[in-house]
């Protein structure tokens, strides 16, 4: 039987931006226009049967590979000793789309209890208009997880029934898991004055 990622790719040939499998985990990058129909397809197609949306999160690729910690801080980086270098056969991974064009990525992890397989679907989102369609009507678990992504990343979910902040409070400024949110930034105190 065809692998779930192949079935999805055959159905949405025009909308698949990239696909890869890293460490045995297949991943499909879909355009956001295809997401609502893909969600239905993933849930209802025999052979896919993804009845559980295990996880929904997002990644901000703003500083991917550019962080200070990405390179050794020494002026002349010393190579790893021979016994610490990775094995030569190690597979490589590429994101599949440009980090400049698509700053964000909404990541869906699906699981099928009937067929015991998993699939990762990622929807790249541009910084100018960070919004994707909500899948709350397909999986109820998306409700809170989309609220959390809105809260921490500021990505809108079109069609969400109740898109409020979840972990933080309403008057919080900014979205803290974005990479341009400084880690030591303080927020004004809220609550009744005493």
């Amino acid at each position: 039987m065809a692998h779930p990622s192949e079935l999805l790719r055959q159905q949405f040939t025009a909308d698949v931006l990239a696909h890869h499998a890293y460490r045995g985990q297949p991943t499909v990058l879909l355009s956001r226009e295809a997401l609502p129909s893909a969600a239905r397809f993933l849930k209802d197609t025999p052979g896919l049967d993804f009845n559980v949306l295990m996880d929904l999160t997002a990644v901000d690729y703003l500083t991917f590979g550019k962080a200070q910690s990405s390179a050794p801080r020494l002026a002349t980086p010393s190579p790893l000793p021979y016994y610490m270098t990775p094995k030569a056969s190690a597979e490589t991974w590429e994101r599949g789309v440009s980090n400049d064009q698509y700053r964000f990525e909404v990541v869906y992890h699906f699981y099928s209890t009937a067929l015991n397989h998993r699939l990762r679907v990622k929807v790249p989102v541009a910084a100018a208009e960070p919004s994707v369609a909500s899948v709350t009507s397909v999986w109820a678990s998306a409700n809170w997880m989309e609220r959390e992504v809105w809260d921490l990343f500021g990505i809108m979910f079109q069609g969400h029934p109740d898109l409020r902040r979840l972990l933080l409070y309403e008057s919080f400024q900014g979205h803290p898991l974005r990479k341009d949110y400084p880690i030591y930034k303080r927020q004004p105190l809220i609550g009744p004055k005493n």
Binding site: Y22, R23, Q25, T27, N51, V52, L53, M54, D55, T57, V59, D60, F64, G65, A67, S69, S70, A71, P72, R73, L74, L80, P81, Y83, M84, T85, P86, K87, A90, T92, W93, E94, V107, H109, T113, N116, R118, R120, W139, A140, S141, N143, W144, M145, L152, P161, D162, R164, L166, L167, L168, Y169, P176, L177, I183
Partner: protein, 456 residues
């Protein structure tokens, strides 16, 4: 599900000539029955709940942002505080995710140690959950019995890790230290005692009329709805879906031990209680089998069989008397005192990209010293290759997932935790709507909300 019932017009048509109105009741954030801090806004029609909204986030402490700013091993103490009732599972779950991302295999002995300690942690979690929810509906004795049993397990945890709750025992590539001497015998004896406690509690609860009336038929959810909400773990199994990550996609040594996955039928609080009680028995089965199967790791001694105490060895090395040290292996004391000494290399992987060398290597020869430097110094550290991995383990509440994206630096670019009780809390309004106010308490107890994991 009623969404944001707070904004809804609460007037209902008058029954007869008496005007009735819906009442709003705040439960929490600080309330003895709301374990930790969480707020329930309920809309009541008499005693019946007709709407509910859950407010979380009171314990949010930026775990994910912290994890993106700290090298991999520095995240391990933070993971202790996710589900603080079963911290070992979080530790191992995070380490497993980094190991899979780096393609590291830990040794077989370490797999077994992780299996045993995960199950010890799972029993403590279930004991706390069942004990606390029994206490909240009046069975105080059960709570005392179960917390006593949990104390025995915490003693075992302390014996192995040196701490009771904030254990930080996992390491990328292994564990902090090997199991102590006599661990198997002590564990077997404790498990026998815990079986006695469970029989006592079973006698007190399972056929208790009051307990059954409170638990049966309350907080029901069908298996299909539970899956749609992403609910996993004992909560899902109470609804009759036999999904368990340990069985479905085995990790550690779970494929080498025999155990059953108990399921319920009704999906109510009572079935979830029965599932948790049976899972404790199954966990004990796993521990006993793992203790019988656990392989010995290689132990090296020099030609004369001479072993130096680790502290003597360190002192000698500081004075430069290191000739012949390479051959000697120390039996390290795996308690808190032993934390500063060497780690026995039979419990850790030979993978030197991630695991610190044993202390006598660090002090005794240049390769060990370089290896140590490369892992410890700022700007070096464990470097996972560019990539991403979603790794799931069976936490006490369900599937505990870690999704790590790495850009090749010494810290995760994105570290996401999939907290199992988050999904159950999302379903809480659906669980309590239609029930009485008093039924919120057993339902909320069986959710086993852990603030540290829910709010991160």
């Amino acid at each position: 599900m009623a969404v944001a019932p707070v904004q809804r017009q609460a007037a209902s048509p008058a029954a007869g000539s008496i005007e009735t109105r819906h009442m709003f009741l705040n439960i929490g954030p600080s309330h003895p029955a709301m374990h930790g801090i969480v707020q329930l806004v309920t809309e009541l029609d008499g005693e019946r709940v007709v709407g509910a909204d859950v407010e979380i986030g009171y314990l949010h402490r930026c775990f994910e942002k912290h994890a993106e700013a700290s090298p991999y091993n520095n995240v391990i103490p933070y993971t202790d505080r996710l589900n603080y009732v079963s911290p070992l599972i979080n530790n191992f779950g995070f380490c497993l995710a980094v190991e899979r991302l780096m393609d590291i295999q830990v040794t077989e002995r370490c797999q077994y140690i992780r299996t045993i300690m995960s199950e010890v942690s799972r029993i403590t979690d279930h004991l706390t959950c069942v004990g606390a929810s029994a206490m909240e509906i009046g069975a105080f004795t059960v709570f005392l019995y179960m917390i006593k049993a949990r104390e025995w397990l915490n003693e075992l945890t302390e014996l192995v890790t040196g701490a009771r709750l904030t254990i930080s025992y996992g390491r990328v590539g292994g564990v902090k230290a090997d199991l102590p001497e006599g661990f198997a015998e002590r564990t077997r004896a404790r498990l026998e005692q815990i079986r006695g406690v469970l029989i006592e509690c079973d006698t007190l609860l399972t056929r208790n009329r009051i307990f059954m009336d409170r638990m049966q038929g309350t907080g029901s959810i069908s298996g299909e709805r539970a899956l749609s909400y992403g609910i996993t773990g004992p909560f899902l199994r109470g609804s009759g879906v036999a999904f368990d990550v340990r069985k479905a996609q085995p990790y550690f040594a779970y494929d080498k031990v025999a155990f059953d996955v108990p399921t319920g039928r009704q999906g109510d609080n009572y079935d979830r209680y029965l599932v948790r009680m049976e899972e404790m028995e199954q966990s004990m089965r796993i521990i006993e089998q793992a203790l019988a199967q656990i392989p010995d790791g290689p132990i090296n001694v020099d030609g004369e069989g001479k072993v130096l105490p680790a502290d003597v060895m360190v002192d000698e090395a500081k004075m430069g008397r290191v000739a012949g040290f390479k051959q000697v292996r120390v039996v390290a004391d795996p308690t808190l005192e032993g934390a500063t000494r060497g780690i026995r290399d039979d419990a850790v992987s030979p993978e030197r990209r991630a695991m610190l060398p044993v202390k006598e290597d660090t002090y005794g020869n240049i390769e060990g010293l370089m290896n140590h430097f490369k892992l410890i110094m700022l700007g070096h550290g464990i470097r996972a290759p560019k990539g991403e991995y979603y790794s799931a383990v069976e936490g006490a509440n369900g599937e505990l997932g870690f999704y790590i994206v790495s850009d090749g630096s010494d810290r995760g670019y994105r570290v996401r935790v999939r907290p199992p009780c988050f999904m159950i809390m999302a379903a809480l309004p659906e669980l309590i709507i239609g029930d009485q106010v008093a039924d919120i308490i057993p339902t909320f107890g069986s959710v086993n909300m852990i603030g540290g994991e829910l709010d991160r």
